[in-house]
C-alpha cells in the first residue's frame, strides 16, 4: 500500500479533481490583459509625448519643452490649485458627510431603505446630474425661481456667481451629489461584514452617544473596506472631464479640461503640452493618494488617542446632525436636478421667474425622437455588450476562484481598481493612438472595450461578495448528485445568484451609460451615446432638447435597475427561499 500513499499530489482534489479545467484558469490572465495591457500602452503613449517623443508628429527626441509650455500657460497655477482643491476638498467632504450621515442614521428604521432611495441618483450618469444642476443653481435657475420674486424681490435674475464660478464650488457640489451616495452605498456594503449592531449596543450601554459610538467603534472597521472606493473618488474628482466641462470654470479650467482642450486642438503641436498636462494629472493623482494614505495614518493615531481618552461625545451630535442634513440636501438637489430636466423635456416655454413651465408640449419628444434613436440605441447596445463581456469575465474569474480554491489577495483588488484610479485622460489618448494603429478606432468593438475597462471593476465588486457568500455545499451536493461542473454552474449557482447577477448587470450598465471620455476617444466621434450628445448639447443648446437626452440618460439605467429588482421577484414568486430581498 506504500506506493499508494504518494500518488495523489497535494491540492489536486478541488471541486474538480483530475480534470482539465477548460478555459477557466485563463480567466484571470485574460481579464488582466483586457485591462492592464491597454492601460499600460495608453500611459506610455501619454508619457512619451509629454517628454517630446511622438515621431508621428515630428517629436523625435526627449526633452522638457512640453512641460515648459504647460508651466508657462497663462493660468496654469490657478488650474493646478483648482484641480487640487476640488479633488481633495470634494473627496474629504464627501467622506465626512457620508460618515456623519451613517453615524447618525445607522440603525434607524429608514437606514436600510436609504439604499433604494439612492438608486436613482446612483444610476444616473454624472453628466446628467451635472446638467440638471446647472439649471437648478443658476441665478435664473429653479431654486431662484421657487423664491422669486416674492421672497427675493428679483424681477430679473441677479448677476450672481454660480455655475462656472472661478473657485469651482459648483463643480464640487456636482461631485458631492454623486459621490456621497456612492460612498454611502460602499459603506452599507461594508457594514454587512461587521457585527455593527451588537457592538453599537455595547458602546451605547457604556454611555457613548449614538454617533460617536459609530465613529469610534464601527468606522475603524468599515474604513479599510471603503478605502479603495475613496481613492477612486479621489482620482475621479481630480481628473473628471465631463462634469468639469458642465459645472466647472472655463478660465482657467481644471487641468483635465485643459489637457482635453489641447488634445482636441487643430494645432497638433498642442499634443505635447496636452500629454504633459495629462501626465501631471497622473502624478497628482498618485501623490494625492499617497498624501491621503498619510493623512489616514495620522488621523488613525489621533483617533486612537481620542478613543483612549474615553470621551462619550454627546456634544458631537449637532455636528453629525448637520452632516446628515447636508446629505439630505444633496439628495434633494440630485433628485430636483433630474426632475427639472424631465420638466424641461415637456416644456414649451419656461422663463424666469415661473416656477413651472408656462406651456406644456410633447413636441420636444416628437422632434427629438428620430435623432435620439441612434445615440439611444448605441447607448443600449454598447451598454449591454460591455456589461455582458464584464459579467462573463467576472463570472469566469469567480468560478476559477471556486474551482482552483485560490483566494485573491488585496493586490488583485488593487489591480481591479486600476482603471478607476488612473485618470482617464492619462491613458485614453495613448490608447486612442493604439486603436488607430490597429484600425479599431471608431468601431463598436473599441467602444465596448473602453467601457469594459470601467464596467468590469464595478460588476466584479458587485458580484464577488454574494458569489463568495453562496454556501459551497450546494455545489458539492450537486456534484455528488452527478452534476458536472458546467451543470452545477448553470443549474445551481447561476439560478441561485440570479438576483445579484442582475444587480451587477444593472450597475455595470449604469456605469457604461455614464462614460464620456472613453466613448469620445474610442468612438472617434462616430459612435455617440446619449451621454456624449448630452454633454455636447450642454454647451448651450435648447434646454428642452437637453431635457429629453438627460431624461433618457437617467431612465435607461433606472429601467434596468428596476428589472434587476423585479425580474427575480417575478421568476421566484413561488420560491420563498429566494424571493426575499437582500
Amino acid at each position: 500500500m506504500g506506493e499508494a500513499l504518494h500518488e495523489i499530489a497535494a491540492g489536486t482534489a478541488g471541486e474538480n479533481a483530475g480534470r482539465p479545467r477548460g478555459l477557466f484558469p485563463y480567466a484571470p490572465g485574460l481579464t488582466v490583459a483586457v485591462f492592464l495591457v491597454p492601460i499600460a500602452a495608453g500611459l506610455l503613449g501619454t508619457l512619451l509625448p509629454a517628454f517630446g517623443y511622438l515621431p508621428a508628429l515630428g517629436g523625435m527626441s526627449l526633452g522638457w519643452a512640453p512641460w515648459q509650455a504647460l508651466f508657462g500657460h497663462p493660468g496654469f497655477l490657478s488650474a493646478l490649485r483648482l484641480t487640487l482643491t476640488i479633488g481633495l476638498g470634494a473627496t474629504a467632504l464627501a467622506l465626512a458627510l457620508a460618515t456623519g450621515f451613517c453615524a447618525l442614521v445607522y440603525g434607524s428604521t429608514g437606514f436600510r431603505r436609504a439604499e433604494a432611495l439612492l438608486a436613482p441618483i446612483l444610476a444616473s450618469p454624472h453628466s446628467a446630474i451635472a446638467i440638471g444642476l446647472t439649471f437648478l443653481v443658476a441665478p435664473s435657475g429653479w431654486l431662484a425661481r421657487l423664491v422669486s420674486p416674492w421672497l427675493t424681490g428679483w424681477a430679473n435674475p441677479p448677476d450672481l456667481v454660480s455655475v462656472g464660478d472661478p473657485w469651482g464650488l459648483a463643480l464640487a457640489l456636482g461631485l458631492l451629489v454623486k459621490e456621497v451616495p456612492y460612498l454611502l452605498l460602499m459603506t452599507l456594503a461594508a457594514l454587512n461584514q461587521v457585527p455593527a449592531r451588537a457592538q453599537l449596543e455595547v458602546a451605547r450601554a457604556l454611555g457613548y452617544g449614538r454617533g460617536v459610538a459609530w465613529i469610534k467603534v464601527v468606522l475603524p472597521q468599515v474604513y479599510p473596506q471603503i478605502r479603495l472606493p475613496v481613492y477612486a473618488v479621489l482620482a475621479f474628482s481630480l481628473s473628471v472631464v465631463d462634469v468639469s466641462l458642465i459645472l466647472g470654470p472655463g478660465n482657467p479650467p481644471p487641468l483635465a479640461v485643459l489637457a482635453m482642450r489641447w488634445f482636441s486642438d487643430p494645432d497638433v503641436a498642442q499634443y505635447f503640452p496636452a500629454a504633459a498636462a495629462a501626465s501631471l494629472l497622473l502624478a497628482l493623482v498618485a501623490a494625492s493618494i499617497m498624501l491621503w494614505r498619510l493623512a489616514e495614518l495620522g488621523l488613525a493615531a489621533i483617533g486612537r488617542a481620542w478613543i483612549a481618552r474615553g470621551g462619550r461625545g454627546l456634544s458631537a451630535e449637532p455636528g453629525l446632525r448637520l452632516a446628515a442634513l447636508a446629505v439630505g440636501v444633496l439628495m434633494a438637489l440630485g433628485t430636483l436636478s433630474m426632475l427639472s430636466m424631465a420638466l424641461w423635456s415637456l416644456a414649451a416655454a419656461w422663463r424666469f421667474p415661473a416656477v413651472l413651465p408656462s406651456a406644456w408640449t410633447l413636441a420636444n419628444w416628437r422632434h427629438a425622437l428620430e435623432r435620439v434613436w441612434w445615440p439611444a440605441s448605441t447607448t443600449l447596445l454598447v451598454g449591454l455588450a460591455a456589461t455582458a463581456v464584464s459579467l462573463l469575465l467576472a463570472l469566469a474569474c469567480l468560478e476559477n476562484e471556486a474551482r482552483s480554491g485560490a483566494h485573491p489577495g488585496s493586490r488583485a483588488l488593487w489591480l481591479l481598481y486600476t482603471p478607476l484610479l488612473v485618470p482617464q485622460i492619462g491613458f485614453l489618448f495613448g490608447a486612442q493612438v493604439l486603436l488607430l494603429r490597429l484600425g479599431l478606432d471608431g468601431t463598436f468593438l473599441a467602444v465596448v472595450w473602453s467601457h469594459v475597462l470601467f464596467v468590469l471593476p464595478y460588476v466584479f465588486l458587485s458580484l464577488a461578495d454574494p458569489w463568495r457568500a453562496l454556501d459551497p455545499r450546494y455545489a458539492r451536493t450537486a456534484a455528488c448528485l452527478g452534476a458536472s461542473p458546467a451543470k452545477v454552474l448553470l443549474r445551481v449557482k447561476l439560478p441561485m445568484l440570479l438576483r445579484p447577477l442582475l444587480i451587477a448587470a444593472a450597475v455595470g450598465f449604469a456605469v457604461s451609460v455614464g462614460q464620456y471620455l472613453p466613448t469620445l476617444f474610442a468612438g472617434a466621434g462616430r459612435l455617440s451615446t446619449l451621454t456624449t450628445v448630452a454633454v455636447t448639447l450642454a454647451a448651450g443648446a435648447d434646454r428642452r432638447v437637453i431635457g429629453v437626452y438627460v431624461f433618457l440618460q437617467s431612465l435607461l439605467p433606472l429601467v434596468l435597475y428596476g428589472l434587476a429588482l423585479l425580474l427575480p421577484a417575478a421568476i421566484y414568486a413561488n420560491r420563498r427561499g429566494l424571493a426575499r430581498s437582500e
Binding site: 500500500m1 506504500g2 499508494a4 500513499l5 504518494h6 500518488e7 495523489i8 499530489a9 497535494a10 491540492g11 489536486t12 482534489a13 478541488g14 471541486e15 474538480n16 479533481a17 483530475g18 480534470r19 482552483s404 480554491g405 485560490a406 454556501d471 455545499r473 450546494y474 455545489a475 458539492r476 451536493t477 450537486a478 456534484a479 455528488c480 448528485l481 452527478g482 452534476a483 458536472s484 461542473p485 443549474r491 445551481v492 439560478p495 441561485m496 440570479l498 421566484y572 413561488n574 420560491r575 420563498r576 427561499g577 429566494l578
Partner: protein, 213 residues
C-alpha cells in the same frame, strides 16, 4: 448487495498539521461506520476528500475505492458517492420535484416516466403530492427527508453522512435516524457517518472510529 467503500492510506493535513493520520478502512454494504471526534478535527474534511470536493488548502492523499473501482482520480460527479449535510441544501430555486429530478439519473428518460418515479419516491416516504411544492414552505423534517431521497435517487454506491441529524430537534431526530438508516440498510449501501453525538453512533449500530486530532 452494492459492495463496499474502501479507504487506503488516507492522510489529511492542513498547513503541516496532520488531521487524519493514515486511515485504512473498509465499509461493507449495509454497514454504517461512525467517525467521531471533537469539531475541527477534520471529520468533514475527510468526507469532502472522499467525495472529491476537499478545499485545496488541505493536503490530502490516499486511495478511495467504491466497489472494485478506484475513484480517487475521478471528478466528484463520477464517483457515485451520495452526501448528506447538516443542512438539507435543497436548491431554493427548484420545486421539490425538480430537486429530486436533479438527482435522478438522466438515463431514466421520458418526462412522464421521470415524474412517475419521483412521485413514487415521495409517496414511499409519506410525502405524496409534494412534488410541486416550494421547499421553503416545508417543515425541517420534511426537507431533511427530501434531501435524503434526492441523494438516493442519484443511485450512489455509498453514502456519506456529514452530521445530518445535527440541526433537528430531539423527536424529529429519532424519526429521521430511523428513516435514513432504514433506507441505507434496505439498499445495502456502505455508509460513513460523521457526528459528535454518541446517540447517532449508537443508532447507526456499526463500528465507531475516533479521531482525536
Amino acid at each position: 448487495m452494492s459492495g463496499l467503500l474502501r479507504l487506503a492510506g488516507v492522510e489529511i493535513a492542513l498547513a503541516g498539521r496532520v488531521l487524519v493520520p493514515m486511515l485504512d478502512l473498509v465499509v461493507e454494504g449495509g454497514e454504517v461506520v461512525t467517525i467521531m471526534g471533537p469539531s475541527g478535527v477534520g471529520k468533514s474534511t475527510l468526507l469532502a476528500f472522499i467525495c472529491g470536493t476537499v478545499d485545496p488548502a488541505f493536503s490530502a492523499r490516499g486511495r478511495i475505492y467504491v466497489g472494485e473501482t478506484e475513484v480517487s482520480r475521478l471528478p466528484p460527479e463520477r464517483r457515485r458517492l451520495g452526501i448528506l449535510f447538516q443542512d438539507d441544501l435543497l436548491f431554493p430555486h427548484l420545486s421539490v420535484g425538480e430537486n429530486l429530478a436533479f438527482g435522478l439519473p438522466s438515463a431514466i428518460r421520458g418526462k412522464r416516466q421521470r415524474a412517475r418515479r419521483i412521485e413514487a419516491t415521495l409517496a414511499g416516504a409519506g410525502l405524496a403530492g409534494f412534488a410541486p411544492r416550494d421547499p421553503a414552505t416545508l417543515s425541517g423534517g420534511q426537507r431533511a427527508r427530501i434531501a435524503l431521497l434526492r441523494t438516493l435517487l442519484a443511485e450512489p454506491q455509498a453514502v456519506l453522512l456529514d452530521e445530518p441529524f445535527g440541526k433537528l430537534d430531539a423527536a424529529l431526530r429519532e424519526e429521521f435516524r430511523r428513516f435514513v438508516f432504514g433506507l441505507i440498510a434496505a439498499r445495502g449501501l456502505p455508509a460513513l457517518l460523521v457526528t459528535h453525538d454518541g446517540a447517532d453512533a449508537e443508532a447507526a449500530g456499526g463500528r465507531v472510529l475516533r479521531l482525536d486530532g
